[in-house]
Amino acid sequence: MPRRGRPPIEGDMLQGTLDVLVLKTLAMGPAHGHTIAHAIERRSEDVLQVEHGSLYPALHRLEDRGWIASFWGTSENNRRARYYRLTPKGRRQLQAQTTRWDEIVRAVNRILRPASE
């Protein structure tokens, strides 16, 4: 189990990835856990199957770091739900993580598809 209170361990791709996906989803506007889970699945065209349960520890962790903030609101179908929104700090983090993700993708691509021509 990773130690709490530390940044994601380098190379712990999945966890870091889930974090950035949550941030990206929230960049479009506040949402509650159920919406976030379904949004990630839908927008990845169901390639990324998130286990919905694992989303909640991630939300907790992100809130703990001050990247997202939460409040109780009423959902589309009139149910009480906990909404999350991106904080300015989270927005900066999203920017940084996206840049880093692009670097990784480029690097991995350079290895997997070397410019052979």
Partner: protein, 897 residues
């Protein structure tokens, strides 16, 4: 992770649970919309989410601090273990509580009396100005701290240049009542700059300024102490302008001192303060003002910024000769004047104030601190022993835990937290013990101590708490870490392989024996010290002081408000004595200047055959019947009687010591001597008409000294503060009431205060009794702890050697032999401890030597008694397990392996 969340873990857990429920509800709604049956919808939603408990646990651990969490676990585990073994827990916590409690209590007193700085502005640059007088000072000494005379004080204040300001004070005892029995108040004469120099701000009203202390002040006003204000006026803020009666003088209250400030004399609280200029109002012609031979004041100076202490000393030294040369008392003889002019001024740091307690209790407090320190050391050794035994017993458990992957650090922490638990509980208990104990100490010190109320601020400040905490944590480390380290370092294999107790190494058992030897030797030191003090006190209480101690009442009467003329006083006094003698149950009553150990002194030089004799001779002035009332035998001659008047020749009764010293064994009866008087006064011949047995004068500890009794009816000046000595065969309280009635009938304006000779003697031995009581208590405690320690070790030995004993017995060893085998082992440990301890005890006793009476620190009887007491207690402790071993059925022991 935030601490905020750590402390609200439970809230956050519920919050997350609600959130997960919201998810399920949402998903069910969606599923229903997709056309599932409600049942399907619910199951699908749960499948989608996963196990909610796992999710919550995941989040919950995120919210916990790993370190804190495991410490809490360790502590709970430790507490469970202690609960399962209550005897161990109780013994451990009790020894530690008593050890730390006693240390804290003594330290609290030391702190209050010696270490704490005064609650005044910048106490660090205060110094006390004192006089260095190689051969002592001559004159009369008033006040608690008679360091300077009033003229000296004025001259020093005028001539010094190293202090930014100075203050002086003197103490007095005043009577609040207007007649009848005295209501004492502790008074203070202060210079006008006393409060400003100390930077004290009033609680109510104002305090004195230099403008209040002007020579000849007629209506000086009074500043009252805070406790007095609360006691007498209920803390009424409108007290300013009201008045109080001090020794019959009505003075207006101008202000109240703050609660934190009780004077610079630590331990003596002032009830009321007046300016020094008010002295003539109270003392009349006996005033100290302008009298260089009346030592009545003490003075502090506040050193100017930038001036070093050496510069202060240099300056005081430089101004000394000028000041002393010009303040010689006209009443001094040539020799006194010469000595006076050689006096030097000097200073001592005074940031912690001054205290009469310090002189008297410096050694006792240090010794008690050392004694309690030893007790704590013994307690720690005992605990280390207990912990070692436990660690050994748990060796297998620890080995198993190490084997299945626990880290050494984790186990060390677990064992440490267990000892921390004991230390914490012990320290907490210690604080309770300390509170009770220091209260007891203060009441002991101020108890029947001759009327002086003692006040020591015992609020448990940070220093005291820090001290206990340090002691407890230190103890915890000592007795927790060693066994823990040993246990985790033990070889895993041997521990796992071994059966019960077989893994015990020689080395470890050596440590346990060493601890027992240490305990025994330290205990012996404490027992020896305790016996020294107890026997010293016994010597003092059982000596024949030469006077009767029981059934003697002393009435201190004040004539000043009676309106009697000096000529009328002798007759009035005779009348009182006659009336006192008529009280039922009274079989002796007379007047006396002082009573033995009564606190008054009077000594003079005598002249025999025109030759001034060496050494001071103590004097007392008594009326007819004194020797009978005090049961002091007259060995020759007669008592004073009605023949001895102002007109008749002067007579005296001397003690055997006097006769021996000044008449060298010749018959002193009928001989005459003179008393050295001031220059120009006549020296009348005094004839010895009686010889009395030796009797103690002012201190039971002093040897018998030459003593002269003169006849009160022949005194040059009638005494306005006469003491009446009354011996009664009935109970003293009823006699006291009768005396009060009698005096009121004769003159209602008389004030009277009572004391019994027994109380005076007891009060003079407070220190001795304190030392005897406490050292006996701690000595007993030490023996008890050492006995428990030895018992533990011997029980363990027996358990360890069960098989061996079984084999021996199977082979035909009888019980006595087995008992002897065990007891011999204990005796060896005891012998080692005794030898080490005896050396230490003699060294320790030497330190206490000044507090002993008629006893040498290496007194063989004392040491023998101590060894006997310690030996019998510890041998008993080893005999019990030995007997148990001898009752062992060999078959049981052998079958066990």
């Amino acid at each position: 992770m935030s601490l905020r969340r750590f402390f609200r873990r439970r809230y956050w857990d519920e919050e997350r649970a609600r959130e997960l429920e919201a998810y399920i509800a949402q998903e069910i709604d969606d599923n229903l919309a997709r056309g599932m049956t409600p049942d399907q919808a619910r199951r699908a939603a749960h499948r989608r989410l996963g196990n909610p408990t796992l999710i919550r646990e995941d989040i919950y651990t995120m919210n916990s601090l790993g370190f804190v969490e495991t410490i809490w676990q360790d502590l709970r585990y430790g507490a469970r273990l202690l609960r399962r073994n209550p005897t161990f827990a109780i013994v451990a916590i009790l020894t530690l509580a008593l050890g730390t409690g006693a240390n804290t209590a003594i330290f609290q007193i030391v702190d209050a009396v010696r270490l704490r700085t005064l609650p005044v502005e910048n106490p660090d640059n205060l110094v006390e100005i004192r006089v260095r007088a190689p051969h002592g000072r001559t004159g009369s000494f008033m006040s608690n701290r008679p360091m300077l005379s009033e003229p000296l004080w004025k001259r020093i204040r005028a001539e010094q240049q190293v202090f930014s300001s100075l203050l002086a004070w003197g103490s007095a005892n005043w009577n609040l009542a207007s007649g009848g029995e005295i209501r004492p108040a502790q008074g203070l004469y202060v210079s006008g700059d006393y409060f400003p120099t100390l930077g004290i701000t009033p609680a109510v009203g104002r305090l004195f300024t230099p403008a209040d202390d002007v020579k000849g002040c007629a209506a000086p006003g009074v500043v009252i102490g805070n406790a007095f204000w609360k006691r007498e006026f209920g803390g009424d803020a409108s007290v300013v302008g009201r008045s109080i009666l001090l020794d019959g003088h009505r003075l207006d209250i101008i202000g109240v001192a703050p609660a934190a400030f009780t004077g610079v004399d630590v331990g003596r609280v002032f009830d009321a303060a007046v300016p020094i200029c008010a002295d003539p109002i109270f003392r009349g012609p006996r005033t100290a003002i302008d009298k260089p031979d009346v030592w009545v004041l003490a003075a502090f100076g506040r050193v100017k910024p930038g001036v070093s202490f050496d510069q202060v000393l240099a300056q005081l030294d430089a101004i000394s000769s000028g000041i002393f040369a010009t303040t010689v008392s006209p009443r001094y003889n040539v020799n006194d004047a010469k000595e006076y002019q050689a006096f030097k001024l000097y200073a001592t740091p005074a940031s912690t104030g001054v205290s009469s307690l310090r002189g008297a209790y410096n050694d006792p407090l240090s010794i008690l601190l050392a004694v309690t320190g030893l007790v704590l050391l013994i307690a720690c050794a005992n605990l280390a022993n207990l912990m070692l035994a436990r660690a050994t017993a748990r060796e297998r458990e620890i080995a198993v835990r190490l084997a299945i992957g626990a880290s050494q650090r984790r186990i060390l922490r677990q064992m440490l937290s267990e000892s921390l638990l004991i230390a914490g509980a012990g320290a907490l208990g210690g604080l309770f013990v300390a509170r009770w104990f220091s209260g007891f100490l203060v009441s002991f010190l101020s108890g029947d101590g001759g009327g002086t109320r003692l006040f020591v601020d015992l609020a448990p400040g940070w220093r005291v708490f820090g001290f206990t905490a340090a002691v407890a944590v230190g103890a915890c480390l000592v007795f927790g870490l060693a066994p823990a380290l040993r246990a985790t370092r033990a070889s895993l294999q041997s521990a796992m392989k071994a059966g019960r107790g077989m893994s015990d190494t020689r080395e470890r058992f050596g440590l346990r024996r060493g601890l027992v030897v240490l305990q025994v030797s330290l205990s012996l030191v404490l027992v020896v010290v305790a016996l020294l003090f107890v026997r010293s006190l016994r010597n003092l209480t059982h000596l024949d002081p030469g006077f009767r101690q029981d059934g003697v009442l002393v009435a201190h009467v004040d004539y000043r408000k009676s309106g009697l003329t000096p000529e009328a006083i002798p007759g009035f006094t005779r009348q009182i004595v006659q009336r006192l003698r008529a009280i039922p149950g009274v079989d002796g009553a007379t007047q006396a200047f002082t009573t033995p150990v009564g606190g008054n002194f009077w000594n003079q030089h005598v002249v025999i055959g025109g030759q001034e004799q060496e050494g001071n001779v103590n004097f007392n002035s008594v009326g007819p019947g004194y020797f009978q009332a005090m049961a002091t035998t007259l060995v020759a001659g007669r008592d004073f009687d009605d023949r001895d008047t102002q007109q008749s020749p002067k007579v005296a009764i001397v003690t055997e010591s006097f006769a021996k010293k000044y008449f060298h064994g010749h018959d002193a009866l009928g001989q005459s001597f003179q008393v050295v008087m001031e220059i120009g006064q006549a020296r009348p011949m005094i004839q010895i008409v009686g010889i009395a047995r030796d009797t103690k004068y002012s201190d039971l500890r002093e040897p018998f000294t030459p003593l002269v009794f003169v006849a009160t009816p022949q005194d040059a000046e009638p005494d306005v503060f006469p003491n009446f000595v009354i011996h009664a065969t009935t109970s003293l309280p009823s006699v006291t009431a009768a005396v009060t009635r009698t005096l009121a009938e004769l003159n209602p304006a008389l004030s009277v205060q009572y004391q019994t000779v027994r109380a005076q003697v007891t009060g003079s031995l407070v220190r001795e009794r304190l030392m005897a009581t406490l050292s006996a208590f701690f000595g007993g405690l030490a023996v008890l702890i050492a006995t428990i320690g030895l018992y533990g070790v011997m029980s363990y030995t027996v358990a360890r050697r069960r098989v061996e004993i079984g084999i021996r017995m199977a082979l035909g060893a009888d019980r006595a032999r087995v008992v002897w085998m065990i007891v011999r082992e204990a005796a060896l440990l005891l012998a080692a401890g005794v030898i080490a301890g005896a050396g230490l005890a003699v060294a320790a006793g030497r330190w206490a030597r000044t507090l002993l009476y008629d006893l040498e620190p290496w007194d063989p009887l004392t040491i023998a008694l101590a060894i006997l007491a310690l030996g019998s207690a510890t041998l008993l402790a080893s005999w019990l397990p030995a007997r148990r071993a001898s009752r062992l059925a060999p078959t049981t022991a052998l079958r066990e392996e």
